[in-house]
């Protein structure tokens, strides 16, 4: 430990003994106020992306927004996924701070408490204060854990916009009428109907006393869908819808803790490198737009920390399976990704010191003034101010 760090720690530990109680009380109030205002948004490049297509010299052109933002934030060159290399377990490890080994396809809730539950329980935060907005349609159980003392009553709202879109599109495809997917109005009408009639069938978890969706939530989502469908460019991506829904949720409910899971880049499984690269660039653009929204929204500006990371990498080109198509080899290309922290409390810088996926929840918890127990992860001190 460096001398300065030691003195800092020592100073803090003896402060309560030597300072007057009134001063200590003021500090505590200030900390509480800061904690109340502080917001954390986790953004995952879901589906998996390799460093070679992102933060490598030859990959930077795929992520022009993040390449620029990198210099405004703190960048970890290596963020390790040491757990199970499936989508659900990878993201569940990120949000719980413990390596998760549950069902790979989301049929089980995370085994340990999520940061959403920790946050809501410790701060008595309301049901609209924590959200998971995920393109991956198997993430319905991502908002809360199987832990008895936590669980759904403290969980995040989970919405799966792509699943909503899928259901609407499927319904239209099956109708023998002239309506088809080029008819935006038809898709929009169907989306609205699903929202009004059966949002639970598409895997959403919106916390409310009854099974009725909160009218405010419903109107917010419907408006976002309208803007999405009638936007200037023909929308073709689940991630675009995820972004629009996220933006509307931020504007209407200003949650303090969110996970935004983009997932288009999992198209790599189709074996099209160009579609994968397009998805990477789209995710970069949408993440940049999310950052712009944070800057433009007074409820978020200067009080929000954005933690951006891939949920996993993908197999290296030399790998025995099939390179970028998969993410099961466990090679460094698959396990070693990166993390970019931006916004409130983050000083500019970079480090080659590795951080782990499980450290993300611990860091977010520290930012939200939580002290969860039993985490495998450690707070990342470099970005905790």
């Amino acid at each position: 430990m460096r001398t300065r760090d030691f003195l800092k720690l020592a100073g803090l530990s003896i402060a309560s003994r030597i300072l007057p109680a009134s001063v200590m009380s003021l500090w505590a109030q200030a900390a509480e106020a800061q904690a109340k205002g502080r917001k954390v948004i986790l953004v995952t490049f879901g589906g998996g992306v390799r460093t070679s297509e992102t933060f490598s010299p030859e990959g930077l052109h795929n992520i022009p927004r993040l390449a620029k933002l990198q210099h405004d934030g703190f960048f970890y060159q290596t963020c390790q996924n040491q757990g199970v290399l499936s989508h659900f377990n990878s993201t569940a490890s990120i949000v719980t701070g413990n390596w998760q080994r549950v069902d790979d396809f989301g049929f089980e809730a995370p085994a340990s408490a999520t940061v959403f539950e920790q946050f809501r329980k410790a701060h008595k935060a309301g049901p609209l204060d924590a959200w998971v907005i995920a393109t991956n349609k198997s993430f319905a159980a991502m908002g809360s854990s199987a832990q008895r003392e936590f669980g759904a009553p403290y969980g995040a709202n989970v919405i799966l916009p792509k699943q909503l879109l899928l259901d609407a599109v499927k319904d239209i495809v099956k109708k023998p009428s002239a309506a088809n997917l080029s008819d935006r109005d038809a898709v929009h009408r169907r989306l609205e109907t699903i929202l009004q009639e059966g949002y639970e069938s598409v895997g959403w978890t919106i916390f409310k006393g009854s099974r009725q969706m909160d009218k405010h939530v419903q109107s917010t989502l419907t408006r976002a869908l309208g803007e999405f469908i009638n936007g200037p460019e023909a929308p073709s991506s689940g991630d675009e819808l995820t972004y629009f829904i996220t933006r509307e949720v931020m504007r209407e409910f200003s949650p303090r803790l969110m996970l935004v899971n983009f997932w288009d880049m999992d198209v790599a499984h189709w074996g099209s490198y160009s579609l994968y690269l397009q998805a990477v660039t789209r995710t970069d653009r949408l993440t940049g737009m999310l950052w712009d929204e944070i800057q433009a929204n007074p409820k978020y500006k200067d009080q929000t920390t954005l933690l951006i990371l891939p949920e996993l990498g993908r197999d290296g080109d030399q790998n025995t399976a099939n390179g970028f198509l998969n993410h099961r080899s466990g090679d460094p290309s698959c396990r070693n990704t990166w993390l970019l922290a931006l916004g409130a409390g983050v000083t500019k810088g970079a480090t080659d010191k590795p951080i782990r996926h499980v450290d993300v929840a611990a860091t977010a918890a520290a930012m939200l003034d939580l002290k969860p127990e039993g985490l495998a992860g450690q707070p990342a001190r470099e970005i905790l101010v």
Binding site: R101, F105, L165, V173, L181, S182, V187, W270, G271, S274
Partner: protein, 400 residues
């Protein structure tokens, strides 16, 4: 070849399970695979227990017991058990270490019986780049060769494969190789049907010709997904194992029938993207059948349509009225990495090391990329006509 029997009592159960699983599907293995497992089994029977000491020590720490891993059985639950185990990365490391000891011994036997091999990869016309950007991932290996190409593009493939502008089966590299070394020694894999007319006796796969089977598989996958009967891809794969092709050309050959099914269902986007099918089928053919000659003929992939990309198992043409458009630039980007993957895959196996010529052609392009041993019979210098490429390939493969 009858299913061989081996005594693996001394082999740790997680290792033996992999081997036994291969024996269970013995009838669906190619001769090259059967020969490999024969050699591997014979070697393992005599292998000293010390070879497996690390694995034997690791298995109990992973929770492997006779209850969780009954000897002689291998189930999807066991696959999940491994994948989710905290010690899985270590298990993989140990397995790799064991194979690092085994492979040199088995490879030595094969290398002694080596023969010249040839991999030909043909890119479609209309890719929006010139020869300088066509094979950038292979730069530093091999050389570009100047070609004289016919004005009539329809003659390109027949000239390269049969030596004549109109397919001449008597001179077909594929048929000559198949006749000399067996049907699984010569493969053509393609998006369209250009190669289909250039051979009769070789093993041939065409994405277009499998259209009916692909459609049936997609419908079945869609049905199963809608019923919610399966939890994930592994379970889906198990359920779809019975859906063999009905097309006459494969139903008579159980090995190819299973190969086609597995390629379309286990190969990610192979059902949906023509070039992915060609790449994965080629890679699998090299890995499993170890052919002497492989010709992979790629095509142009279609653009992804708005919304319909979300419905991966729907008929894209029915799902939207927007006209289908070819994606030239996207296809170029896709193929550039596939050239590398095909090249690399062959290099992983002793059968192909130091004795394989790789010919990367592009329809209509006046250059090709050649990676070959120094004695490949194509001299540098003058622009070579496609017939010269054909003759060099034939001579290299010793096909008289």
């Amino acid at each position: 070849m009858a299913v061989p029997r081996f005594d693996f009592a001394h082999v740790p159960v997680t290792f033996a399970a992999y081997f036994n699983e291969q024996l269970r599907g013995w009838e669906a293995l190619f001769p090259a695979e059967q020969a490999y497992f024969e050699r591997l089994g014979t070697y393992l029977e005599k292998a000293p227990p010390a070879m497996f000491a690390s694995l034997a020590e690791l298995e109990p720490r992973m929770g492997v017991t006779p209850q969780t891993w009954p000897r002689g059985r291998f189930t999807l639950q066991q696959v999940d058990f491994l994948n989710r185990n905290a010690l899985y990365p270590e298990w993989r490391r140990v397995i790799t270490q064991i194979f690092d000891q085994i492979n040199p011994v088995l490879d030595g036997e094969i290398a002694a019986k080596g023969q010249p091999r040839l991999v030909m990869v043909i890119a479609p016309a209309d890719l929006p780049v010139g020869p300088d950007r066509m094979w950038t991932r292979l730069k530093g290996r091999g050389r570009r060769v100047s070609l004289a190409v016919p004005d009539d593009l329809s003659q390109y493939v027949p000239l390269a494969i049969t030596g004549k502008p109109v397919p001449d089966l008597a001179g077909s590299l594929l048929d000559l190789c198949a006749a000399a070394r067996g049907p699984y020694s010569a493969w053509s894999v393609e998006t369209g049907e250009a190669l289909a007319g250039c051979a009769r006796k070789a093993t041939q796969l065409s994405y277009e010709k499998l259209s009916a089977y692909r459609q049936r598989l997609m419908e079945e996958v869609q049905k199963i997904a809608e019923k919610g009967e399966v939890r994930g891809p592994r379970q889906l794969g198990e359920k779809l194992k019975t859906l063999q092709p009905r097309d006459a050309e494969y139903s008579r050959d159980p090995v190819m029938s299973e190969f086609v099914r597995a390629t379309l269902l286990a190969g990610n986007g192979t059902l949906l993207v023509n070039n992915t099918f060609v790449e994965w089928a080629t890679v699998q053919a090299i890995r499993r059948a170890k052919p002497s000659l492989v010709v992979a003929n790629f095509g142009i992939r279609n653009k992804v349509k708005p919304f319909s990309s979300l419905l991966i198992f729907e008929d894209q043409d029915k799902a939207t009225a927007i006209p289908t458009q070819a994606d030239m630039l996207g296809s170029y980007v896709d193929l550039e990495i596939f050239y590398q993957y095909v090249f690399q895959e062959a290099g992983k196996y002793v059968e192909y090391r130091n004795n394989t010529a790789y010919l990367f052609l592009a329809e209509g392009m006046d250059e090709m990329h050649l990676i070959a041993p120094p004695d490949f019979p194509l001299s540098a210098g003058e622009r070579a006509p496609l017939t010269a490429i054909y003759r060099a390939a034939r001579e290299w493969l010793r096909l008289s």
